[in-house]
Assembly symmetry: C2
Homo-oligomer: 193 residues x 2
């Protein structure tokens, strides 16, 4: 049963949504629904919870001197101060790369020379929640002062790639999406240098 590609047929496996009832709607932050779904084997589940939150972009930004522009911020999900990448929800109509550029500039004051898409994942496999789009940006240059306008203080920090790796391993990073983005970027850097 060794394989390196999907063996399940997505068209067969996909749940069919028969009905949807909105439980909570707080645009643009969260939409919580209860769905009636039909499973591939014919079973009906009439109370499956689905939660939709806006997509977001993260930026692993590397300066010419090899340092990464990270940010430190209190996050109310983990309930503590964590290390993050510059990141934020996409605005209405904004593409992931546009959101990534905007958040990098707003949170750190930097612009980048080159952008590379790393990958995209949903934060909750069952409910959905946000979809994160992760980017590696190189040739970073500071052109402005940070101006995040978020609820929490966002403090830019410069770290070496090894220090940011340790931040993931040692628990300074507190979010799944941030951890995935940092490790993906380090993987890309390790395989292209």
């Amino acid at each position: 049963m060794t394989t390196n590609r999907p063996s399940l047929d997505n068209a067969v496996e996909r749940w069919q949504i028969l009905a949807e009832r909105v439980l909570v709607e707080r645009p643009p932050w969260l939409r919580l629904c209860e769905q009636t779904v039909r499973l591939p084997d014919g079973r009906i589940v009439d109370d499956f919870l689905v939660a939709q939150a806006p997509p977001y972009a993260t930026v692993f930004g590397l300066r010419p001197d090899g340092l990464v522009v990270a940010v430190e911020e209190y996050k109310h999900g983990p309930g503590r101060t964590v290390l993050k990448l510059p990141a934020g929800f996409l605005n209405e109509g904004e593409t992931p790369i546009e959101g990534a550029r905007r958040e990098l500039l707003e949170e750190t004051g930097y612009v980048a020379e080159s952008w590379h898409f790393l990958g995209s994942f949903f934060d909750d496999g069952n409910r959905g929640m946000s979809q994160g789009f992760h980017f590696l940006a190189t040739g970073l240059r500071q052109v402005a002062q940070p101006d995040a306008g978020d609820l929490a203080t966002v403090r830019p920090l410069l770290l070496s790639p090894e220090d940011i790796r340790r931040a993931v391993l040692d628990g300074w990073v507190g979010e799944s999406g941030t951890a995935a983005a940092i490790l993906l970027a380090l993987d890309r850097l390790n395989h292209t240098t």
Copy 2:
């Protein structure tokens, strides 16, 4: 401003929860609340959304022949069939390592000789949602047939570490927590062998 450890004081940065109103409560799956919080600068936010879902454990399990025991499953969050690690919500009163052992056995029929904790992250930095606990297990041995009992078909697959790395990079993996867990495990394996 180069540093390799937290510069913000968590006791100062932490938001103070003044009140909490439950919007939706669906034990054990989800609890959605609206909180009144006081920010460190004194501002009051009276409608911050917090969502709590059960913690879960994931297992990157390596067999003596060097293959990883992964699973393929339809997930309704991403809405498609994705590659995952054996994983699941912790039962009431269960520790993360106990949940990891149970899920590995249930979803794949394997037991492991050695267990190593890799890290833990919250799936949603703003709302909270689930906290994932990620483990590397080695010396895997199959002692039973899979019996997951989940809503979706859970199909065990054997992949090389390089194939599972490619699954993260190429989008076969669909969840932030799974991506973080796989990349953390590969980091650990690359730095100890």
